[in-house]
Symmetry: C2
Subunit: 367 residues, 2 copies
Amino acid sequence: MAELPEQNSAKPDRTIISVDAMGGDLGPAAVVAGIAKAAEKNPDIGFILHGPKDKLSSLVAKRRLTDRCEIRDAPDVVSMKDKPSQVMRNGQSTSMWSAIEAVRLGDAEVCVSCGNTGALMLLSMMRLRKLPGVNRPAIACLWPSRNKGGFNVMLDVGADIRADSHDLVQYALMGMSYARNGLGLARPRVGLLNLGTEEHKGRPELKEAADLIADIAPTADFDYVGFVEGGDIPSDRVDVIVTDGFTGNVALKTGEGTAALIREFLKEAFEATPLSRIAALLALTSLRRLTKRIDPRRVNGGVFLGLNGTVVKSHGSADATGVSAAIKLAFKLAESGFADRLAARVASIPSPGQDAPQTEAESRHSQ
Amino acid sequence: MAELPEQNSAKPDRTIISVDAMGGDLGPAAVVAGIAKAAEKNPDIGFILHGPKDKLSSLVAKRRLTDRCEIRDAPDVVSMKDKPSQVMRNGQSTSMWSAIEAVRLGDAEVCVSCGNTGALMLLSMMRLRKLPGVNRPAIACLWPSRNKGGFNVMLDVGADIRADSHDLVQYALMGMSYARNGLGLARPRVGLLNLGTEEHKGRPELKEAADLIADIAPTADFDYVGFVEGGDIPSDRVDVIVTDGFTGNVALKTGEGTAALIREFLKEAFEATPLSRIAALLALTSLRRLTKRIDPRRVNGGVFLGLNGTVVKSHGSADATGVSAAIKLAFKLAESGFADRLAARVASIPSPGQDAPQTEAESRHSQ
């Protein structure tokens, strides 16, 4: 990323995060509340906030964030129902466009938005452009797991509905780089999501990708653990789970839905009888720790990988805690110089397209 | 299904379930223990058990099941690593083959196996044959949900790795029939799994299937609720979730893995401090109810739909509780005359292939 220009109104020794205040389900008040949380926890973050100036100014003043926040006026909002292609054509005055633009111009290091995923992805791709050698950018999410650090990385969880073997290889590289820089894993273990670990069938592109990933693993300094199943996603067998965006999106939402269902059942169980209500009081600390471990807001923030610049997509329904978690992630990535490292990683690996059998596919991608 | 022949050694007024004793991870002792559980709970079930006669005889005698169980000698076992095609060619002496054969011959109503899913599916398909009009059979599973009955149905969860729009329509019909007969829902609500409920993109076969399912819903007497997301699988928005076998398998295993992770975290939380251990004692009844609600063994049993006969696939790792649950499901389906009803349902609906735009696809399927 470029260095911060001196004219930036936020203090130049702060790491600047560009935040789209609009487009989330709970509106700009929740976003500003999230900024306040993050700002309180970490004095090194500065913000550029995008949206209707009048509305934002009063929210920012109320939270006493005026000296931490530059506000950039953007009167229009991308709604969840807007078609990405329309936003691309007519969205210049939206807060989402403005938030991405701040990263493109080098005014901020990372962009955070709770808005329409499809529009955010398309805008990010068109404005920030893909990294050289990347065919399909991907969205990576963190997944609570039995691993020491508590998380696995999964990608793609919805940037694109399909991925060929070449794309899956790039996802492996990008996810590995994210795990190394974002989770601090020296030698991430990468697995490819399939129906079974020793399935003889399985989609042809998966078998092809498995061979290609196994080939580059030694050079790229990661371990390829082979095929993994849905049940392995939260396991300690693997750090990075590679899949296409359709499957990844369904898996992500299924996991979240299952966790939410169990949280509800747990709550009902503890409200069932007077005795269980007393038990809940006694176990309060333990239950709080559990709730925190499985709270989806804690891992809020999908990261767009494969672009010239980092964009963090927060849940549409994120509240202050969720927005604050997404900002924390953005800050961590900015601090580690992740964008540059990822670019170097993708560039350093010989493209599988250079091998003879891939040449045709490669030329098709670059059209 | 044919009526029970008089020469059957189990009492003729019992509903006969054919059980493959071999091929599960825990071996025949766990299967026979499951049979004992089911037999005790329900005096109307009789069994035909398949596997090495000597081994099974002593297990059955130990459990005092001799008068409830006919044993059919099958010396060979299908292992989890056997290729389905090899089992198809050389598996005549396996317990799995014998278990399916008992249904084909009309000696038993439903077959239950914990063995290799791919082999069980291929054998079932080749020996029982597909129902007229069905292109790809499917595996349906029950999913804990917020619905009144406590479950949703999802299919396909792994019979086939792909499904075109025509297949998805048949899954909708078969799943709807299963929900009606297995869960007792008069007018099931059917949804199609996609990346989002109002996604503009999405795979082309999904958009096509959505139109076709909406067209037949009034005739087939079910409600089509449109696209659903992964988060809706355990919801009360929908009773039947339709998807291809790759996506469904990943979603199923992801949900199971997430539930297992949370169970572990919950256990750790209650063992964390002396106070939380006391709390766990106080809340024992409530916690047991919770554990039961999310216990995957309770919903053990995927059902193969679209064949001339019903086959229940139990988890490979099923213990006595799991096997007993699969047998209970098999019994319920046998009692309701499900196989005949499903056949009638599939036959009664005009094939989408009869409409002009589908003719080409239809002729491709029937090749």
